[in-house]
Amino acid sequence: MQRSVHRAEFVVALVGIMAAALFLWDARRYAASPFEPIGSGAVPGGVAVGALGLGLVMLVQAIRGLKATSNEPKQFELTFRVLAIFILTILYVAILATGWVRYAHATVPYAILGIMIIAEHPRRLIPWAIAIAFGLAFGLDFAFRHIFVVDIP
């Protein structure tokens, strides 16, 4: 199995363990009441115990897998692309959330940049990217504001 798969297993296991620990810690606050035998924390607490155990087993398996495999070629470039597009999306959302820039105006550069980041041969896609960016920005803006009558930034 690829090293990147074990890396992802490690991340998911860690997220599971942390979430389970958080729920388990919070579950202690919800005691049972006289009319309700088990209380609000019992079922989530039980699930959290299970998730904690499963997460630990997965973590051990992932570490063993990571030790047994080495990095694959091209994986770094692909991971970088996905990370870059994800960070770009977070920036796009953050800019929209400030309310300083309208949806259509933020979407044009986001879409063009995003397509350029993911594309294997970005130059070939430039005309497509510009057309799609404007269509997506002003088309969806029109659809949401005038057809669905929804407030968008």
Binding site: A8, Q61, T79, I85, I90, V93, L96, Y110, F144
Partner: protein
């Protein structure tokens, strides 16, 4: 409203337009590798906020029908399964197309898909009401046991290792807990976030995991070039001799697909796999399977389409999703304040009949579209992937925001997108996550209601005939894969 009046309503121009739009979009995402019906329906959910419930369900059911069928085109002409449900079709449709019979391969697939859908529709129309009347008599423990069976079933048949399925389900369950406890009215597990007081909304979680996560994962997968086949319409209409030769196979495969659809939590992928295996085992010429056998195409396509209407049966009758896509349909109903379940026939009969009727009208429109639009549809696969990725991401962001005008929910969608991406990358099945997310609140509330009735005594859960039987079935389903693969432990257990 009755089924007849629902069908008349669905034949009005507005509903025919919705059905056609849904089927067309479904077929297009089915054709495009990496996209699937669940993602399309997740992206459409925000728009359904602004639609009448009947219109929304008509559109979504049509998308569901179209998405399962669309993958047939790329499976046959490009050897790429548009959706995982079309994987088995490749083994015979592509070799048949290579022999110069692409039209016949597609014709067999379309006819089998239509037959499978119609067969399952008859089951949907006739079985749903009696089943819901039976389900009304279920006690809280019976319901809890049924939900547990559904959860264990989806975990045990998920791709990858069972450990990953269990982790996926437990994460989905944990995410479902924050918010107001329905039994006590107490706020719980909000960790100081007032935005989470009413819990995590269905929409951002589902869109995050299924749309953002999947599209990011797809962007990371290198895109191979497929070998293209010259296509002609010759043989697109299934010949009478083929109908005669395939009739038994059609009926058997449709019945298998319908039954697998009814089983909670599992859908088209398993349906086509089981049906293909059975068809090969009973065939007089099993050696022809994998080399362009018409029996293989028919078995796979009849079964995967039959699972669509089959999976709607437990959703409508009991409020238990028959497949992952049904989770999204359930989410669409919840958006409109409608709780699917046995009482749906009493509280919202119109909606039930609209769902049943849409399943039929979308099948007919799917048949017409597939027969007429193949030359155009096969070109959809040429759309560059980066464009699709950005299109989906923009739609996710703006769709989630438009639903409630809350940036917090967009943040939730992005966070779950990251989790979904890591899960896809680590080969964790996403089905158990979304099914557990939707079903855990039901399971918890039924368990606690049952315990309140029995004054905290858990014994009746195992001693009452139905709940006890279902708990035994759950236990067997849980143990069976472990017994079947006792040597598969450690990192090497997961299929690569």
């Amino acid at each position: 409203m009755t089924l007849g009046t629902a069908l008349l309503m669905l034949l009005t121009p507005w509903h025919l337009m919705l059905t056609s739009l849904g089927v067309l979009l479904g077929i297009i995402v089915g054709v495009m590798p990496g996209l699937n019906g669940a993602m399309l329906i997740a992206l459409t959910l925000p728009l359904t906020y602004y639609m009448q419930p009947n219109d929304a369900m008509n559109l979504l059911v049509s998308m569901y029908t179209g998405s399962i069928t669309g993958g047939l085109i790329t499976a046959t002409l490009l050897r790429i399964p548009g959706t995982p449900a079309n994987l088995m079709t490749i083994f015979d449709a592509y070799p048949m197309a290579m022999r110069g019979e692409a039209g016949r391969a597609l014709g067999l697939g379309i006819a089998a898909s239509t037959f499978g859908s119609l067969f399952a529709w008859v089951a949907l129309a006739t079985m749903t009401r009696p089943l819901s009347e039976l389900a009304v008599r279920f006690g809280p423990f019976d319901y809890f046991a049924l939900v547990m069976t559904a959860l264990v079933l989806i975990i045990s048949v998920s791709k990858g290792s069972m450990l990953k399925g269990l982790i996926s389900a437990s994460l989905g369950a944990l995410v479902a807990f924050p918010g107001i406890d329905p039994s006590t009215g107490q706020s719980r597990f909000v960790f100081g976030w007032w935005q989470m007081t009413s819990g995590l909304d269905v929409l951002p979680v589902l869109i995050g995991v299924f749309a953002i996560g999947t599209v990011l994962h797809d962007a990371m997968t290198p895109q191979g070039k497929a070998e293209r086949i010259t296509y002609s319409n010759s043989g697109l209409f299934m010949r009478l001799a083929d109908w005669r030769a395939q009739f038994a196979n059609l009926v058997r495969s449709s019945a298998i697909g319908t039954w697998i659809g009814i089983l909670p939590g599992i859908g088209a992928n398993v349906g086509s796999l089981v049906s293909y295996t059975v068809a090969k085992n009973v065939s007089k010429t099993p050696e022809e399977f994998g080399k362009g056998s018409p029996h293989g195409i028919v078995a796979s396509e009849a079964a995967n389409n039959a699972t669509v209407a089959g999976a709607l049966i437990p959703l409508v009758a009991m409020g238990i999703p028959g497949s992952v896509i049904d989770v999204f349909l359930m989410g669409a109903m919840q958006i409109h304040g409608i709780q699917p379940g046995p009482l749906l026939f009493q509280s919202n009969a119109g909606l039930v009949y609209t769902i049943i009727g849409s399943s039929l009208t979308s099948t007919v429109i799917m048949f017409i579209m597939m027969m007429t639009l193949i030359p155009l549809l096969r070109r959809v696969v040429d759309i560059p992937r980066p464009i699709v990725t950005i299109l989906v991401l923009v739609f996710c962001v703006i769709g989630v925001f438009a639903a409630n005008n809350r940036w917090f929910e967009v943040g939730v969608a992005l966070a779950f997108g990251a989790l979904g991406f890591a899960m896809e990358r680590g080969r964790f099945p996403l089905g158990p996550f979304v099914i557990a997310f939707i079903l855990t609140p039901i399971a918890e509330s039924k368990l606690r209601s049952g315990l309140m009735i029995t004054d905290g005594d858990v014994w009746p859960l195992f001693m009452q005939p139905l709940s006890g039987g279902l708990m035994v079935v759950s236990l067997l389903l849980f143990i069976w894969p472990l017994l079947r693969r006792p040597h598969k432990t450690g990192p090497s257990a997961d299929p690569t």
